[in-house]
Symmetry: C2
Subunit: 162 residues, 2 copies
DNA sequence: CGAAGATTTCAAGTATTTCTGAAATGACCA
DNA sequence: TGGTCATTTCAGAAATACTTGAAATCTTCG
């Protein structure tokens, strides 16, 4: 699956394998199917666990760990959005806040005020995006699904080309 | 600005410089401010033009090209979403279609059918996401802004913790 | 047309990320 | 408790991605 998902190629391959196969596979299965090293398989699986799109499964009478991928595409999508919001927006907002706090000191002239205005426009916007995103990404509630219904409704009601 | 935007660090820096400064700057300004090579500056600016978040400005009586960043945060966001949909979802969907076309040949057994079902679930989902995304990313129409109003309304009407 | 100045391209170098494989750690059972 | 098998870690190797700088190309003006 696309390598440009904000995750490494191998991680994407491992997820694709688990999702498509539908089964739970153990580390050795993954290594063999994808021809990757044990360490790589282990790290990729752990990362997928952290993303919440893969879960560990124990088989009775077997000491190995097995892994299976979440099968609901909505859950997968939510997990991906959640993780990417966290990784991409949060650090950016943190930096913007830091800058804002630092800026309230010296002799402020006209152009500094204009700069601040632009930074604030960006900050406010990203805070709004984060707030909306968090709402739909939260594990409980109608969340993203409801959002999509609304968006689809808008799409349908707009008719053809204007 | 965050380096994890799906674009390179330098490109992000160039955009941040142009956005924050508010002015139009020429290649040499960018090189000097960010201490980067001419080639790098040129390539980054071109990429930003491709993304549609920076535009070329000509000053009469001056042969140099000047560049200025889009100032409307909504437009910036739309451009980023548009480009990322194109780069991340489109290739993925293309692969899925290719697989689907290839799969309709040999002796199909039970597990092959199950695999196809999963691939189709994913394909359908991504097509839906693309369709909704395209609608809101399209240059004309209320687009994303309307979407956000709707999403905000939902957010507000949900009240506090259930 | 030709010179001057600006931009783009690209091979080579540098930096960053990812992968490997073996050693260390952990888990279970007799 | 010690042995066996599975998992995790991590330093170095390999693969990617980014940057540079100079040559090639393009544009404008005299």
């Amino acid at each position: 699956m696309g390598s440009a998902w904000g995750i490494s190629r191998t991680m994407a391959e491992v997820h694709a394998l688990l999702y498509v196969s539908g089964d739970s596979l153990c580390t050795d299965d993954v290594m063999e199917r994808l021809q990757i090293s044990r360490g790589n398989a282990s790290m990729s699986l752990r990362a997928l666990l952290d993303w919440g799109v893969v879960s560990r499964v124990h088989r009775r009478g077997d000491r190995k760990d097995y892994f299976s991928a979440e099968q609901d595409v909505w859950s997968i999508f939510r997990a991906i959005v959640r993780e990417r919001l966290k990784r991409e927006l949060d650090p950016l907002l943190a930096s913007l806040h830091e800058i804002r706090d630092r800026e309230n000191e010296p002799g402020r002239d006209e152009s500094a005020a204009a700069i601040d205005a632009r930074l604030e426009a960006m900050t406010d916007f990203l805070e709004m995006v984060t707030a909306v995103g968090d709402r739909f990404v939260s594990p409980s509630g109608p969340g993203l699904r409801l959002a999509a219904s609304l968006l689809s409704a808008v799409e349908d009601s707009e008719g053809g080309d204007p």
